[in-house]
């Protein structure tokens, strides 16, 4: 289990290699890399700045990673999230999970990225050549994506 919040870029190949190195109980490694797009909501994006809440970010990422490790039988997990000014094509975030079985790896990876989108204290400021700077608004689809990971006990109550 590891969490890093950093300004510097990361190397997904190295990170994945280190995640599973020497652990022959691992049958699958799932990962997701988020990249800066050059368009958002139909508008060209020339750069993006990610602001975060130092201290709380690391604390929350460690908590959600611990929750993923409770809910799925993971052999290893990693979250790396960058902050600062990024250009289109730059890496923003890496989530990687390793497990004996592929579904635990794939599901926990999706759980972590859905969670990051709505609950991690990051804010995106987009720069556009035509319309200047704009804070990205939260999206309802991201809230719905995060909501479907509510524990099944919650879901059972909602269904009753």
């Amino acid at each position: 289990m590891a969490v890093r919040v950093q300004r510097e870029d990361f190397d997904p190949g190295n990170e994945l290699e280190r995640l599973s190195a020497g652990n022959h109980d691992i049958g699958g490694v799932a990962s997701f890399v988020g990249l800066v797009r050059d368009v958002a909501g139909g508008e060209e994006v020339s750069a993006m700045t990610l602001e975060h809440y130092p201290g709380m970010t690391e604390k929350l990422l460690a908590e959600i990673e611990a929750e993923a490790n409770e809910r799925w039988p993971l052999e290893a997990s990693l979250i790396v999230h960058r902050y600062g000014r990024l250009a289109p094509g730059d890496r923003i975030v890496l989530v990687a999970t390793a497990s004996a079985h592929r579904h635990a790896a794939l599901e926990s990876c999706q759980f972590l990225i859905d969670w990051l989108k709505t609950k991690a204290p990051f804010w995106k400021l987009e720069e556009s050549g035509s319309s200047g700077e704009k804070w990205v608004a939260a999206r309802a689809t991201d809230d719905r994506a995060a909501a479907r990971w509510k524990q099944s006990s919650d879901k059972d109550e909602a269904a009753e």
Partner: protein
């Protein structure tokens, strides 16, 4: 009490961190936000629509009725857009 502002709340208040001494009748998040509005036009504008604002007390997400006390770290920010 230490107040932190992020994203457009930081820009509108013009402040990233401020140390404040709230009056004794401020005991919860709602009361604190109401009192912060009085600190200037930037604060008033930033906190005009509380539905657009999220709060954390001592780095835990908090609702409007959560308690606040001297010495707390209170962060005010818009909904998160990470990942």
């Amino acid at each position: 009490m230490k107040i932190l502002y992020f994203a457009w709340l930081r820009q509108q208040t013009g402040i990233d961190t401020e140390e404040v001494e709230a009056p004794g009748e401020v005991t919860d998040v709602a009361g604190l936000l109401d009192w912060l509005k009085t600190r200037g036009p930037g604060h008033a504008a930033a906190l005009a629509d509380l539905s657009a604002v999220r709060v954390a007390v001592n780095q835990e997400f908090a609702e409007l009725d959560a308690e606040v006390a001297p010495g707390d770290e209170v962060a005010i920010f818009p909904p998160m857009t990470g990942g």
